[in-house]
């Protein structure tokens, strides 16, 4: 195997995207994604069983397409990497079974990879983020803010292959999930993120003051005596507050000012997320913050993150959207790092772990 510049095939199936990517070292060769998103629209959220069924049928065609896009043969691949968690258990199982099949069929090493760390690894694929002059490395003192329908986390990345720490995370709903639920409340389409982002542009973000979860002193504490949830998030109370607010307008027989509600809700989510991310950076010596996850597409999140990181001298990195959403290339990118660092491959007997902690970069 070429340990200096390995060709890695990455597989992702933790939620509703079936992704297969091919990466050589830090060079992106293919990033093929098949999404079952449309099948979830009428339910207003991802239905795990529907996602799992879709993964099973999408996997081989997606693999075939990725190999064709990259112009490589399965035999050329040096190692296989697969998301083993965190994610939906039944969905993970499909990608993991397929990845094990590829490994045993070809005799190539298999790496069971942490999905959240892979979101950070994707930064390696963009020259604007990891320029060749930096010896294909991520910036030092790196942090990551991951926001999607499945997760909301702040990470500190000392070494992408060896040392990643969870600084904060949601204690209930993911931010993207809150967007979906509020969108449904307002009669908007699924997925809620883009719908609310669009509508919010016509609304007043200060019209309604919604609660900012886990921001009171008893949760925050101080730098020296941090509270129990200093960098954590909670969005379930906010969702309830929006519901009460909408019901209030209806009970009074008033028209619901949907644009104002959307804008005010969005501001409540993104205000907390960006404020806590910047706080975590400042207090942990993080000088570069990478944004990842599907909610990175939100225009207000990008705007707020840009303003607030700039104000505190933190460099903000935003990979292109096709690399922010769940995909196989990010899994391959992290796999390549593990191979280059000489990390041992996973045993074929590993099981997917739906709550795999970020401290576990591979199994």
């Amino acid at each position: 195997m070429s340990q200096a510049n390995p060709l890695i095939l990455g597989i992702e199936s933790s939620c509703d995207e079936t992704g297969v990517g091919l990466v050589r070292g830090t060079e992106l060769l293919a990033n093929t994604v098949s999404s079952s998103m449309e099948e979830h629209v009428r339910f207003g959220g991802v239905i795990p069983e529907i996602a799992s069924r879709a993964h099973l049928d999408a996997f081989v065609p997606t693999l075939e397409q990725a190999l064709a896009d990259a112009g490589v043969d399965l035999d050329d691949v040096d190692a296989i990497a697969v998301t083993s968690g965190p994610g939906l258990a039944g969905a993970l199982m499909v990608g993991v079974s397929a990845a094990k099949a590829l490994a045993l069929a070809t005799g190539k090493p298999l790496y069971a990879i942490n999905h959240l760390v892979a979101h950070v690894g994707v930064g390696l694929l963009e020259e604007s983020i990891a320029p060749a002059s930096h010896a294909e490395a991520l910036p030092e003192d790196l942090g990551a803010l991951l926001v999607s329908g499945g997760h909301t986390e702040i990470l500190r990345v000392r070494s992408i292959a060896q040392d990643v720490e969870l600084l904060g995370a949601t204690i209930d709903d993911a931010a993207g999930e809150a967007f979906d639920k509020v969108a449904r409340l307002l009669g908007l389409a699924y997925p809620g993120g883009p719908a609310i982002d669009k509508l919010a542009r016509d609304g007043n973000a200060r019209a309604i003051r919604f609660p900012r979860g886990l921001t009171v002193p008893k949760y925050m504490g101080t730098v020296d005596a941090p509270g129990p949830h200093r960098y954590d998030f909670s969005f379930s109370g906010l969702k309830t507050a929006v519901a009460r607010c909408v019901e209030g307008y209806e009970a009074r027989g008033e028209t619901v000012p949907v644009a104002d509600v959307a804008a005010s809700f969005q501001e409540a989510v993104l205000d907390v997320i960006t404020a806590k991310a910047v706080l975590a950076c400042l207090e942990n010596g993080i000088t570069t913050l990478l944004l990842g996850g599907g909610v990175a597409a939100n225009s207000r999140l990008r705007e707020l993150a840009r303003e607030r990181t700039a104000a505190d001298g933190i460099t903000l990195l935003v990979p292109k959207l096709s690399l922010c959403t769940d995909n196989g290339a990010m899994v391959a990118a992290l796999g390549a790092q593990l191979v280059m660092k000489g990390v041992a491959p996973s045993d074929l007997a590993f099981a997917p772990d739906s709550s795999m902690p970020v401290s576990s970069i591979s199994l």
Binding site: R42, F43, G44, I47, E49, I50, S52, R53, H55, L56, F59, V60, L63, E64, L74, A89, G90, M93, V94, V96, S97, A98, K100, A101, L102, A103, L104, A105, T106, G107, R184, L185, V246, E247, G248, E250, A251, G253, L348, A349, F350, A351, P352
Partner: protein, 262 residues
């Protein structure tokens, strides 16, 4: 013909079998097999189990004549792990791929076991893979007829949620009804075999169904599925595709309109 079979409709299992595809009376050789006893560890054990069947899967795999996978019915997540494995192996090795209804494996166990009186041996193999070749089949050489179970019978597995997956077969192993999912109480006045029979033995007995303790723990295995597949191939019958037989919709419900606060 040399085939790899995989079934994860209940336990996780795989087998390597060879047979003369042109001779319906020729016996099937089980070269190696693996099966777990439990129904919940597919993720961990399936790949090592398949690996253990081969001396060198990288060279032997592409030389296989076919892969046959059990397409259920069975609990969804486990079932998919076997189908995902089989589809991906077939792609990587460029080997023809077929699917067979998993309860066929139990039908074979019943047909062969009742004939030879060795139901216990008919497929609950557990523990590590056995590399000892065993010749099975070879029933009534020359006649080309399957063994007889004496009359119609039903095979059943656990469908959880107080239901069973079941199918009805003729005495010569012809599928007459099913597979279906439902309460065991719906099965009446017929011998019932398989783990599904063991789970609901009392209810079935109350409905006039004979439950044989010798078969009441049987689960579908890749070994027996493979023998049924070999029989079909030897008779020139088509083996199906690998679309899973879920038999149940996903539990997803389209949310109703939100109640307005008026």
């Amino acid at each position: 013909m040399r085939i790899l079979t995989i079934d994860t409709s209940a336990v996780a299992s795989a087998a390597l079998l060879s047979f003369d595809a042109d001779d319906p009376a020729a016996p099937t050789l089980v070269e190696a097999e693996f099966a777990t006893a439990d129904t919940r560890s597919h993720a961990e054990v399936l790949a090592p189990g398949v690996l253990s069947l081969f001396a060198d899967p990288v060279t032997e795999g592409p030389a296989l004549d076919a892969i046959v996978v059990g397409v259920g019915p069975g609990p969804f997540t486990g079932l998919r792990s076997g189908i995902a494995m089989a589809r991906t192996l077939a792609f990587a090795w460029k080997v023809p791929l077929h699917g067979l209804m998993s309860l066929e494996a139990l039908a074979w166990d019943v047909l062969s076991g009742l004939r030879s009186g060795t139901c216990q041996d008919a497929g609950t193999g557990s523990g590590p893979a056995s590399a000892v070749p065993r010749i099975v089949g070879g029933h009534d050489a020359g006649a080309g007829l399957p063994p007889s179970a004496g009359g119609d019978f039903v095979v059943a597995t656990d469908a959880r949620r107080n239901e069973v997956y079941w199918a009805r077969y003729s005495a010569v192993g012809e599928l007459l009804e099913g597979p279906v999912v439902g309460a065991a109480a719906a099965i009446q006045g017929i011998p019932v075999h398989g783990a599904g029979a063991g789970l609901y033995a009392r209810e079935l007995a109350a409905n006039g169904c004979a439950v044989d303790p010798a078969t009441a723990g049987l689960q579908p295995t890749a070994r027996s599925l493979g023998i049924m597949a070999a029989r079909k191939i030897q008779r020139g019958q088509t083996v199906g595709d690998t679309a899973p037989l879920y038999l149940r919709e996903s539990d997803a419900k389209v949310p109703g309109p939100r109640k307005r606060a008026l």
